[in-house]
C-alpha cells in the first residue's frame, strides 16, 4: 500500500510503484478530472501540482512522490470553483470540448502562483498545454484577467 496526500487528504492506494501518478489518481483514487492525453509529457492534459509545482502526472511514477508531498488536482483547486482562474475561465467561456481544461487551469494556477503578473510572452512560454479545440486566445485572456493585467 502506498500513502498519498491528495487534495489534503491521505489516501492509501494499491498500485505497482512504476504506475504513473495519473493512473493512480484516475483509477485508484477515483479522481477523473485529471486527463490522459499522451502519456509522454507532451500535452499537459494530466497536469497536477506537487507541492505547488505543475507536474505532468502521466510521466511520474507514483513511487517518486515523496511521503507528505501534497498532490493537488483540479478537484482540489478550490472547494467551489471560486479560484480567480476558474471565475475568469467562466467569464471568457474558455472551454470548448473542455478535455484539456483541467490541465490548462492547473498549469495556469502554478504560473500565477510563481509569477502573479506575467507578460504575454511569459504566459505563452509556460502554457505549453495542447488544446485541439483551439481555445488558446481565451486561455490567455482569462489568465490576464485573473492576474489583473491587460494585454
Amino acid at each position: 500500500m502506498l500513502r498519498l496526500t491528495v487534495n489534503g487528504t491521505v489516501r492509501e492506494v494499491d498500485a505497482e510503484p512504476d504506475t504513473p501518478l495519473l493512473w493512480v489518481l484516475r483509477e485508484q483514487v477515483g479522481l477523473t478530472g485529471t486527463k490522459y492525453g499522451c502519456g509522454v509529457a507532451a500535452c499537459g492534459a494530466c497536469t497536477v501540482h506537487i507541492d505547488g509545482v505543475a507536474t505532468r502526472s502521466c510521466s511520474l511514477p507514483v513511487s517518486e512522490v515523496k511521503a507528505g508531498q501534497n498532490i493537488l488536482t483540479i478537484e482540489g483547486l478550490s472547494p467551489d470553483s471560486s479560484h480567480a482562474l476558474q471565475k475568469a475561465w467562466l467569464d471568457h467561456d474558455v472551454p470548448q470540448c473542455g478535455y484539456c481544461q483541467s490541465g490548462q487551469l492547473m498549469a495556469a494556477a502554478a504560473l500565477l502562483a510563481a509569477n502573479p503578473k506575467p507578460t504575454d510572452d511569459e504566459i505563452a512560454a509556460e502554457m505549453t498545454n495542447i488544446c485541439r479545440c483551439g481555445t488558446y486566445n481565451r486561455v490567455r485572456a482569462a489568465i490576464r484577467q485573473a492576474a489583473g493585467v491587460t494585454g
Partner: protein
C-alpha cells in the same frame, strides 16, 4: 449539462434509464427493456420536458463536442418556447429511444457543420409546439381562449384578468393535448434568446473536474481493456503468447479481437496496458507491408495526367482556352494525410449478455454507433442501445468510424455480464486514425493578353472518403464530395469565380490507408489549391490579388462581400507593419461564405510567425455570435496546425507518427490574434463549426509568398524551404 435521461410517461419501448451521473455513484443500472422509472416528469413533447419546479429540459439529438451545438440548439428551442433561459437544461435521448419512437428526434449525426442548420427548423417547431400546448393547457384551466393568453419567460398570463401560471404547473396537462401541426415560427429579428451571445450551458463541470467524459466512465464491477490492433494496414493478428502476461498484476484475460487485434482485460487500464506492452504478438503483415508515402505519392502523381477522370464542374472549352492563351500558368500542389488527434483518445464501455448489449461512448453519430454495436453484439437492435457521454473532441473522427465501439463490444462478449471499458493509448489512436485523405492537384490557368483568367483546369488526384466509408454514396464511381466548394451550384459549396472555360475533374486514387472526415473535409485542399493558385495567377497577370479576385466575383455577391470585409478590416492596400505581409483567401462550403486575411512574418531562419488573422463569415443566420467567434478561433488553430506541422507519413505499411512528440500541433505561442467579422445576411442557414478552416492555410501561404517571393505548394510548411541564412 446532465446526461440524465428518464423515460417519460409515454415510455420508451427500448428505453433505459441509465444515467452517467447515477452510474458513477454506483446506482442501480437499469438495462434495456427494464421497466421505466415512474417518477420521471412528463414531457410536453419529444423536445421539451418541464419539471414541476419549472426547470426546462430540452432534448438534444445532435451531439456536443466543443462546438457549442448543445447551447445553440437549446437557444433555438427555448426561443420558440418562450422559456426562462436561466432554467434551461439539456439531455440526450439514446438512439434506441429514437428508434422506438419512429425517429421522432430525426438524425443524430453531428458532422458536416450540420448540427444546427439541418435541424433548426424542427427543433424550433418542437419548442413552438410545446409553448402552444402549455398556453392551451393554461387557457383550458382558466376557461378562456388561448388567444387571450401570452407566454413569456416561462410564465403564461391571461391578458384580460392578469392571472398567471408558470410552465411547470401546466406541463402535465399540456402533455396530454394534441400537438399542433406546423406551428408558426418567430421572425429571427424578434429573437431574444437565439441570436444572443449567451454563455455556454456546459462550462461549469469543465472547470472543476466534474464533467464526465466517455473515458471517465465508471460502472460497478467494471474492468478495463487495452488493445493493440495490427499496426500495418491490411495486416492481421497471427498469434500471441497469453501465458507470458496472464500472471501480471490485475490481468483477467487476454483476448483476440476480430481478425486483427488482441486485448488485455484487467482490473485497471494501466495494468491492462502494462501487460499488453509485455505481450509477445506476431502479425501477419499482409499485402501492404512495404507500402510507403513515396509509393503513395507516385500513385497520385500518375493521376494528375491520367486520361480518365470524373468531372465535377465544367464550362466552355478549357483545352482551347489554354491552347489560345497569351500566358499559361501551371503548378502542382499536394496535401498530406492529417490526424484528428482529439485530446481524448478513442474509447468505449460495453456490457454484453446473451440477451442485451449496452454501450457508453463519445460519438458524433449515436445511431451509427448503435448499428456498429448491433453487428458486433450479434443481437437484435431492440436489445442494444448506446448512451452518449461527453466528447473530448470529435473533428470528424468520431463520425468516420466506430471501430472502437466494435472492439469494445467484441471484448465485452468475452466477459458476459461484466462491463468493460476499452481505452486506446495515444499510440493506438495515432496508428488507427481515419486520416484526412491525401490529394494532389495540377492547376493550369490561361490568361488573355490583358491578364484576365479565361481558362482554368483543376485536376485533382487522390483519395475518396466515400469510397472507403460509404461506397453507396458514390455516383457511377464518382465521389461528389471530392468537389466540395467547387460546384457550379447548390447550397453547399459553390465555386464563386466567373471563369468562361473551366474544368474541374478528379482522378480517384485510393491507397489502402483508411480515410475519414477531418474538420473541413475536402474543402481544405480544394480551397488551398484554388486560392493559392489564384494568387499565382494574379501575380502572373501583374495584378493585385484582391482586385484580381474581385473582377471574377461580380456574379457571386456573397463570396465578394466576405472578401471585401476582411480586406477592409485588415487594411489591404495600406502598408502593413515593417516585416509583416498579408495574404487573402475566400471559399464557400457547408452553406457558409468565408474569407480570411492573414498577416505573417517570415524570419531569416525560415520560421513563420502568423501574427493576425482577420476572418469573416456569412452563415445566413447566427444563433450565438459568441460561440461562432469561438468556432472561428478554434478552426484557425486546427487549420494552422495542419499548415504549419501536420503530416502523417507511411513507412512499411504503418503510420510513422505515434504521439504528439512526432505529430506536433500548434500551442499558444504559435496562435495568432483572430479578429472575427460575423456578417449574417439572412435567408439561409450555413454551418459554422468548419467553414473558416478552409481559408486558414491558403491565406497564410499567400502571405508567405508575399513575404518571401517563394510559393510553397506542399503542406505542411517547411522551414528549410524559406530559410535565407
Amino acid at each position: 449539462m446532465t446526461v440524465h435521461f428518464k423515460p417519460s410517461r409515454r415510455g420508451f419501448l427500448a428505453g433505459s434509464a441509465a444515467t452517467a451521473a447515477g452510474l458513477t455513484l454506483g446506482f442501480h443500472v437499469p438495462l434495456v427493456g427494464e421497466a421505466a422509472a415512474q417518477s420521471a416528469p412528463p414531457e410536453v413533447n419529444a423536445w421539451v420536458v418541464v419539471k414541476p419546479d419549472d426547470t426546462v429540459v430540452i432534448r438534444i439529438a445532435r451531439v456536443e463536442m466543443g462546438q457549442g451545438t448543445l447551447t445553440g440548439l437549446a437557444q433555438l428551442a427555448a426561443e420558440e418556447l418562450e422559456a426562462d433561459w436561466s432554467k434551461v437544461t439539456t439531455e440526450y435521448p439514446t438512439p434506441g429511444q429514437n428508434l422506438a419512437r419512429k425517429r421522432v428526434w430525426g438524425n443524430f449525426s453531428t458532422a458536416g457543420s450540420r448540427g444546427i442548420r439541418e435541424s433548426q427548423d424542427y427543433v424550433r417547431k418542437g419548442g413552438a409546439a410545446a409553448r402552444m400546448m402549455l398556453v392551451q393547457a393554461a387557457a383550458n384551466e382558466w376557461g378562456v381562449p388561448a388567444g387571450e393568453c401570452r407566454a413569456q419567460k416561462g410564465v403564461i398570463t391571461h391578458v384580460g384578468s392578469g392571472r398567471s401560471v408558470t410552465y411547470g404547473k401546466v406541463a402535465e396537462a399540456a402533455g396530454r393535448l394534441e400537438a399542433p401541426k406546423d406551428p408558426p415560427l418567430k421572425d429571427p429579428k424578434d429573437w431574444t434568446i437565439a441570436g444572443q451571445p449567451l454563455k455556454r450551458l456546459d462550462t461549469a463541470g469543465k472547470l472543476n473536474g466534474s464533467q464526465v467524459y466517455s473515458i471517465d466512465m465508471k460502472l460497478p464491477g467494471m474492468l478495463n481493456a487495452a488493445i493493440r490492433d495490427c499496426p500495418i494496414f491490411g495486416g492481421k493478428l497471427k498469434s500471441f503468447d497469453a501465458a507470458k502476461v496472464e500472471s501480471m498484476p490485475g490481468v483477467r484475460k487476454v483476448v483476440r479481437v476480430g481478425d486483427t487485434g488482441v486485448a488485455v482485460i484487467a482490473d485497471t487500464w494501466w495494468r491492462a496496458k502494462s501487460a499488453l506492452d509485455a505481450l509477445p504478438v506476431v502479425w501477419d503483415e499482409g499485402p501492404n507491408a512495404k507500402l510507403s508515402s513515396a509509393a503513395i505519392a507516385e500513385t497520385l502523381k500518375e493521376g494528375l495526367t491520367a486520361e480518365q477522370a470524373f468531372v465535377g464542374n465544367q464550362a466552355g472549352d478549357v483545352k482551347a482556352a489554354i491552347a489560345g492563351a497569351a500566358k499559361v500558368v501551371e503548378a502542382t500542389y499536394s496535401f498530406p494525410y492529417q490526424h484528428h488527434a482529439t485530446m481524448e483518445p478513442m474509447n468505449a464501455t460495453a456490457r454484453w449478455t446473451p440477451e442485451q448489449c449496452e454501450v457508453w461512448t463519445a460519438t458524433q453519430n449515436a445511431e451509427a454507433a448503435l448499428a456498429t454495436a448491433v453487428q458486433a453484439a450479434g443481437l437484435p437492435i431492440e436489445k442494444c442501445d448506446v448512451h452518449r457521454l461527453h466528447l473530448g473532441g470529435g473533428f470528424g473522427r468520431r463520425s468516420s468510424s466506430h471501430d472502437f465501439v466494435r472492439q469494445a463490444v467484441l471484448i465485452a462478449r468475452e466477459m458476459p455480464g461484466t462491463p468493460v471499458k476499452l481505452i486506446w493509448s495515444r499510440e493506438e489512436d495515432m496508428l488507427h486514425g481515419r486520416y484526412h485523405p491525401i490529394t494532389m492537384a495540377k492547376m493550369t490557368g490561361a490568361l488573355d493578353a490583358s491578364g484576365n483568367l479565361v481558362g482554368l483546369h483543376m485536376r485533382l488526384a487522390g483519395q475518396s472518403i466515400l469510397a472507403s466509408i460509404n461506397p453507396a454514396g458514390l455516383q457511377n464511381g464518382k465521389d461528389p464530395a471530392t468537389f466540395q466548394g467547387l460546384n457550379s451550384g447548390g447550397a453547399e459549396g459553390v465555386f464563386g469565380y466567373a471563369v468562361p472555360n473551366l474544368l474541374i475533374d478528379h482522378a480517384m486514387r485510393n491507397p489502402p490507408i483508411p480515410p475519414g472526415f477531418w474538420r473541413g473535409v475536402n474543402n481544405n485542399q480544394n480551397a488551398l489549391y484554388l486560392e493559392c493558385f489564384v494568387d499565382e495567377l494574379a501575380s502572373a497577370a501583374g495584378k493585385d490579388p484582391l482586385e484580381f479576385r474581385r473582377a471574377m466575383l461580380g456574379k457571386s455577391p456573397k463570396h465578394l462581400a466576405v472578401l471585401n470585409a476582411v480586406a477592409e478590416k485588415a487594411g489591404w492596400g495600406t502598408p502593413a507593419p515593417a516585416g509583416v505581409h498579408r495574404g487573402l483567401s475566400q471559399h464557400m462550403g457547408y452553406g457558409s461564405y468565408v474569407a480570411a486575411c492573414a498577416e505573417v512574418r517570415v524570419e531569416a531562419d525560415g520560421s513563420v510567425k502568423v501574427l493576425r488573422i482577420v476572418a469573416a463569415t456569412d452563415p445566413g443566420h447566427v444563433v450565438n455570435p459568441q460561440q461562432v467567434a469561438a468556432q472561428i478561433e478554434g478552426s484557425f488553430a486546427y487549420g494552422l496546425s495542419a499548415a504549419l506541422h501536420g503530416e502523417i507519413t507511411i513507412l512499411d505499411g504503418k503510420v510513422e507518427q505515434e504521439n504528439f512528440d512526432t505529430y506536433p500541433v500548434i500551442r499558444m505561442a504559435e496562435m495568432p490574434r483572430v479578429e472575427t467579422i460575423i456578417m449574417p445576411s439572412g435567408g439561409f442557414w450555413g454551418g459554422v463549426g468548419e467553414p473558416t478552416i478552409f481559408v486558414a492555410a491558403p491565406a497564410v501561404l499567400n502571405a508567405i509568398a508575399a513575404a518571401t517571393g517563394k510559393r510553397l505548394r506542399n503542406m505542411p510548411i517547411k522551414t528549410e524551404d524559406l530559410r535565407r541564412v
